[in-house]
């Protein structure tokens, strides 16, 4: 198993009432409510949490980014990946990931990622995402070409990593007369690419066709099983067998010394989902052209208030479906066993705290996970044969059917 620590880096230090009065805490909620003094404190607390996660035994730190919203104050995952490349020594730096369509220069991203890979001595896992709907607006990027830009930027980055320059790129969305970045990744054939997602079938199919592991972001167990059915069927049609090394899952999981405290803190997972301050705006979260045409009716009705958020569910439902797991180490382990037995992922991210969970409670949670939960899960993983891509020496991709290794080790 590959066990990762994750936080959204919530920026809860802002006047909540302002968000409620405005009606949404996304995109257009004024950044005059951002408090840089609290921001500076929180960034440093999160850095402390990441180092603690490495110290207590996590295998990886998962990073992401979002824009114009308090639920996530990490605006560039490559920046924290750079910090952690130097501030940690062992953990994989798993970026899930860089929102490719938001980039106007994917070659620049390829360079940044190569630098992170070299500074971290080959610990980079470079995931790619489409970016949220509102982020297309925050970046001024055309939502109607989101998927085309995602696919083209990915092709360009992999080529920049794997083929000697200079070469020329004349694509539909990116044109570069000279592609020849001096820095290239330490890992060969190239750093592993994992693809996270939550809703779009197109992304699952795309990842499976590339033979990239797919990381299901906190979906309900039944929905997760459907994702693996689809992934495995595409894998079979592509000519390989799906299985645990292609399956990742991000689990909201808060542990504390008592059941009561864990449940109370787990309520904070709803903080970014609209129950407390409201995350999504029904229009800004789903600009035309961004979502899959097969969901057009659902999103159109959501946009005018005729149905609830297709992405949302109540706290109690999420507890029941195990989209949120909370308790003492002793009570969460059987629940996580059920998740592993039923969906068989080898990559498991722990989204451990959210919202207003205190610094002390967040650290206690990381410590308890590391000391009590992770060892139990490693045993369960062995028992169930859940070998991670690293343990299984899985290929980087269909195109590069070999594991990623340091260029130093290969020479």
């Amino acid at each position: 198993m590959h066990l990762m620590y994750f936080t959204e880096q919530p920026m809860s230090a802002y006047p909540e009432a302002e968000g409620r009065d405005f009606g949404a805490t996304a995109l257009m909620l004024s950044n005059r409510f951002f408090d840089p003094v609290a921001g500076s404190r929180l960034y440093n607390e999160y850095l402390e949490h990441y180092r603690l996660a490495e110290a207590v035994g996590f295998d990886g730190i998962m990073l992401n980014e979002h824009h114009n919203a308090p639920f996530c104050m990490q605006a560039k995952c490559n920046i924290f990946a750079s910090i952690l490349a130097a501030a940690t020594t062992r953990v994989k730096l798993v970026l899930l990931g860089n929102p490719l369509p938001l980039a106007d220069n994917p070659v620049r991203l390829a360079e940044e990622l190569a630098m992170i890979d070299m500074v971290s001595r080959g610990r980079l896992v470079s995931g790619f995402v489409r970016g949220g709907g509102q982020e297309q607006l925050a970046a001024g990027v055309n939502p109607a070409y989101n998927r085309e830009r995602f696919e083209e930027a990915h092709e360009l980055i992999v080529k920049a990593w794997t083929e000697p320059g200079p070469f020329r790129w004349e694509g539909a969305h990116y044109q570069h007369r000279v592609v020849n970045p001096w820095a290239v990744p330490l890992q060969k054939p190239h750093p592993r690419v994992w693809i996270p997602g939550v809703l779009s079938k197109e992304t699952i199919v795309w990842a499976a066709k590339k033979r990239y592991p797919y990381i299901a972001l906190s979906t309900a167990i039944d929905a997760t099983k459907k994702i693996w059915e689809l992934y495995d069927s595409v894998a079979a049609a592509t000519g390989y067998a799906g299985g645990p090394e292609y399956r990742g899952y991000l689990q909201r999981c808060h542990v504390a010394e008592t059941e009561e405290k864990a449940l109370a803190n787990a309520q904070q997972f709803m903080w970014m989902q609209g129950e407390f301050t409201g995350l999504a705006h029904p229009v800004w979260s789903s600009p035309s052209g961004y979502f899959s045409p097969s969901y057009r009716t659902a999103f159109v009705e959501y946009a005018v208030g005729r149905r609830s958020n297709p992405r949302g569910a109540a706290f109690e439902d999420q507890l029941r479906d195990q989209q949120i797991v909370a308790g003492t180490p002793k009570t969460v382990i059987p629940k996580l066993r059920r998740l592993l037995e039923e969906t068989r992922p080898s990559i498991l991210g722990f989204w451990a705290s959210d919202g207003f969970v205190s610094n002390e409670d967040a650290k206690t949670c990381i410590r308890l996970l590391g000391e009590e939960v992770l060892p139990a899960l490693r045993d369960i993983g062995k028992e169930l044969g859940l070998w991670s891509p690293f343990e299984a020496n899985a290929p980087v991709s269909l195109r590069f059917p070999e594991p990623a290794r340091s260029a130093a080790a290969r020479v």
Binding site: M28, L137, G140, N142, P143, A144, Y145, P282, V283, W284, P287, S288, G289, R296, T297, F299, V300, E301, A303, V304, R306
Partner: protein, 267 residues
């Protein structure tokens, strides 16, 4: 206005490999009517009124309503070229000075681009609440930030007219079409949003007499853009209609039809 029923016919014209839907009615000099970014209802009293004096052609823009989406289309100038193609295909521009252009909102931008491409080809140019020019002081409303209903409502001075035409709560099928049209608008007019920074300069070549009409309460495209068109075009007059917003043809169909008819038919 007479109540004679107008007979509309429609045809599908292949232009640049995509099927363009064109509705047609009436007789007389040809008038190409270009609709808004949200598309158009098939029949409007305003279209009927025009068809009593002109051969009216109302195409659905490529990728809007009943017209097929050309995936490669990238700009409003591309659309303008497709309409030049359509007119040439129908031999309407063989003799200059026959066809007149009437552009509503977003369609006004397309009409203005067409005029710059052929400065003497058209008889008359009518722009109503046209996008296409960058406002100096205000902003063109950003539909990406507004729900389908709120955006269209914003285009009316009188909310009751919206209710009468679309219903207070439009059906989901209507919203889906607005979404498809919005997606197409994003595909061709995302950045800069709803204007062409070079259009103002290019309009200097246009010799065609132009009428610029604006609803005084247009909250989609500010009136200053109407003033901008009047200044940029050599032979333009600006008419501002009270009690109308952006969708002048829906709120003041008779007044607008009379203005257009008089302007296009006068010697």
């Amino acid at each position: 206005m007479t109540s004679t029923t107008i007979t509309w016919e429609s045809e599908t014209v292949p232009i640049a490999g995509a099927a363009l839907h064109v509705a047609r009615a009436g007789a007389g000099a040809p008038l190409l009517v270009l609709h808004h970014d949200v598309g158009s209802l098939e029949r409007l009293p305003f279209y009927d009124a025009l068809a009593r004096r002109f051969t009216v052609l109302v195409p659905s823009h490529p990728g809007y309503d009943k017209s097929e989406r050309p995936d490669w289309l990238r700009s409003v100038r591309d659309v303008a070229v497709l309409y030049q193609w359509l007119l040439a295909e129908r031999e309407l521009t063989r003799d200059p000075g026959r066809v007149s252009l009437l552009g509503l909102g977003f369609g006004g931008w397309i009409a203005a681009e067409m005029a710059t491409m052929a400065p003497r080809a058209f008889r008359r140019l009518v722009l109503v609440g046209a996008m296409g020019l960058k406002p100096e002081r205000g902003e063109i409303a950003d539909q990406a930030l507004l729900s389908y209903i709120d955006y269209v409502r914003r285009g009316f001075a009188d909310p009751r007219v919206f209710d009468r035409i679309f219903g207070a709560e439009p059906q989901t099928s209507v919203l889906e079409q607005w979404d498809l049209n919005r997606e197409m608008t994003f595909r061709i007019a995302w950045k800069p949003y709803m204007y062409n920074p070079t259009l103002g300069r290019l309009l200097g070549s246009v010799a065609t007499p132009a009428l610029v009409v604006w609803g005084r309460e247009d909250r989609i495209v500010p009136l200053e853009c109407g003033e901008g068109y009047q200044k940029a075009l050599a032979h333009a007059r600006l008419e501002v209609l009270d009690g109308a917003g952006h969708f002048v043809e829906l709120e003041k169909p008779d007044e607008l039809a009379q203005l257009v008819t008089r302007f296009v038919t006068e010697a």
